[in-house]
């Protein structure tokens, strides 16, 4: 569907995107992750033809973005960050204008706008000025805008940034709904969002791809094992440490800060995704410790993300 090769973008001396190569298949929902300034937006902008790459090529279906920008634009629906729509226009007028630009005839236009307003839940705000809308509503208008031509590829730049939790859920629902039929590329720095909505995650740092795959494959490739968090009453660190470390498969036991002297908080890391909860429990059972907390954490995307994108 989309084939990117050696994509590079320089802003004067600063290299924002550094030789990215990527293949995106039809029907994928892709999450582009990365810290601020990693080159996510720049990559998306080059995909849509808004920026010229310094070098490298992008092909969308059979068209090159550089040679056939108009054809490429026709298969892409794009929503820039924070939905910069004309704020002095009424929602309906705006959508009608966009429909005109996409060449809808009079009757087709109305039915298309109606369909989009159902999809994005715009029925009640059709007559409002865009500038008066809340961020979430504006984002929905933006998605309707991007969906106008029924594009095969939808590119959303941080579709949920600045929204409240309810709005985020709504936008995600819309994205999931659309994603049943379309290829979607969305950038975000909210990791749980990428995990919740995307089939495939691409982590970018300093203009380079540092991880690419489903959440599961990324987690497996970045193996750091499970962590069991314990909070024990009447436990003394040295003895607890010694007894737990005797269990096979335990890599490390770390002490965590605790509120009271009597309570000991530790984090036990296990190797290779082993589930050692039973063994740990048995050890505790045979000792005069009282369990206040006991839970296992698999390595979160957050940790992987931090590992991959932090300096050094």
């Amino acid at each position: 569907m989309i084939h990117i090769e050696g994509l590079t973008k320089y802003y004067n001396d600063f290299c924002a995107v550094d030789h990215i190569s990527l293949d995106i298949r039809k029907g994928e929902i892709i999450g582009l992750l990365g810290p601020n300034g990693a080159g996510k937006t720049t990559t998306l902008r080059m995909l849509t033809g808004y920026f010229h790459p310094s070098s490298g090529s992008i092909r969308v279906k059979d068209f090159s973005v550089a040679e056939n920008p108009l054809e490429v634009k026709k298969c892409i629906g794009y929503l820039p960050e924070s939905a910069p729509l004309y704020h002095n226009m009424i929602v309906y007028d705006y959508l009608a204008y966009v429909a005109d630009v996409w060449g809808f005839a009079e009757e087709g236009r109305i039915s298309r706008i109606r369909k989009l307003s159902d999809l994005c839940g715009l029925q009640d705000i059709m007559h409002k000025t865009i500038g008066e809308l809340s961020k979430g509503l504006k984002q929905r208008v933006g998605i309707a805008h991007a969906m106008m031509s029924d594009p095969e590829i939808l590119i959303l730049d941080e579709p949920t940034s600045g929204l409240d939790p309810n709005q985020i859920v709504e936008i995600r629902k819309i994205i999931k709904e659309i994603g049943k039929e379309k290829t979607i590329i969305l950038s975000t720095h909210i990791l749980s969002e990428a995990e919740a909505t995307c089939d495939r995650i691409i982590i970018i740092n300093k203009g380079k791809i540092v991880a690419d795959g489903s959440t599961e494959t990324i987690k497996r490739s970045q193996d750091t094992g499970n962590t069991i968090n314990l909070s024990l009453k009447h436990g003394v660190f040295d003895t607890v440490d010694e007894k737990i470390k005797n269990i096979q498969g335990i890599k490390d036991v770390k002490r965590k800060p605790s509120d009271s002297e009597d309570i000991l908080n530790i984090a036990v890391s296990c190797s290779n995704n082993m589930d050692l909860r039973e063994d740990v429990y048995n050890v505790i059972k045979n000792n005069p410790w009282i369990i206040l907390e006991f839970y296992q954490e698999s390595t979160s995307l957050e940790n992987i993300f931090r590992n991959l994108t932090m300096e050094n």
């Binding site: 033809g49 808004y50 910069p84 007028d93 005109d100 630009v101």
Partner: protein, 234 residues
């Protein structure tokens, strides 16, 4: 062509939904009306010469104010990105915006048609200069719009766009009044650059291809410059 029409329609509608348009029109009509009728009865002549004499100056002030938002606003709110990722070309955008600006200038001139109509009641009005004058005014307005559009494409700040547009238009309006300061050998060339000079020719009712060509090249330069700036921004 359809896309030019779409953008033209949207921009023109934008003009008339914002209060700025009406404020600008009001100021324009007040200023031209005041200066025209202030001396009209003293001169006791049934012509529009006073009105035409002042028009390039008022245009130099008013038109950059009309055109300043065309690109600057899009860039500052970010809708420029949306515009460029829709299935339109640079020339669609530029032509659409330019024609909308020109149409707005023409709409602004429309109420001033009441001047020749009133004058025709009080004296013998020669139609030639009136027709020539309005043709010239539209051409001059279109040229300044093209320049204003170019100024607007340079910056995301509307005030800066206004000032740049104002400077260029003012320069073109005034340059042929300052021929005194230039050496004799280039006086003719400098004189030719002046927009006022060409406008006054047309407003006498003499339609000369040289004057038409002058305005056409101004428009072309403004629009071409805008296209270059847009290409550079990518």
């Amino acid at each position: 062509m359809q896309q030019v029409k779409n953008i033209f329609k949207k921009e023109l509608k934008d003009y008339f939904t914002s209060p700025i348009a009406y404020i600008v029109i009001t100021i324009f009509l007040l200023v031209t009306g005041w200066f025209f009728f202030m001396t009209f009865f003293l001169n006791n002549q049934a012509n529009l010469r006073n009105y035409y004499g002042l028009l390039p100056f008022t245009f130099a002030f008013v038109i950059p104010a009309i055109t300043m938002r065309l690109f600057s606003e899009e860039m500052s709110i970010g809708s420029y990105e949306i515009l460029l990722t829709m299935p339109v070309t640079f020339s669609d955008i530029i032509l659409g915006k330019f024609l909308a600006g020109t149409a707005f200038v023409a709409a602004m001139l429309l109420p001033t048609l009441s001047y020749p109509i009133t004058i025709s009641f009080v004296g013998q009005l020669d139609l030639g200069p009136v027709i020539g004058g309005y043709t010239g005014a539209v051409l001059l307005g279109a040229s300044y719009t093209a320049i204003g559009l170019f100024a607007s494409s340079l910056t995301r700040n509307q005030i800066v766009a206004f000032i740049i547009g104002l400077l260029i238009c003012f320069f073109l309006t005034l340059i042929d009044k300052m021929l005194l300061f230039f050496p004799g050998s280039i006086v003719k060339v400098i004189g030719y650059i002046g927009a006022d000079y060409h406008f006054q020719n047309i407003s006498k009712g003499i339609v000369d291809t040289r004057d038409i060509l002058y305005f056409a090249s101004l428009i072309f330069l403004g629009l071409y410059g805008t296209a270059l700036v847009m290409a550079e921004k990518k």
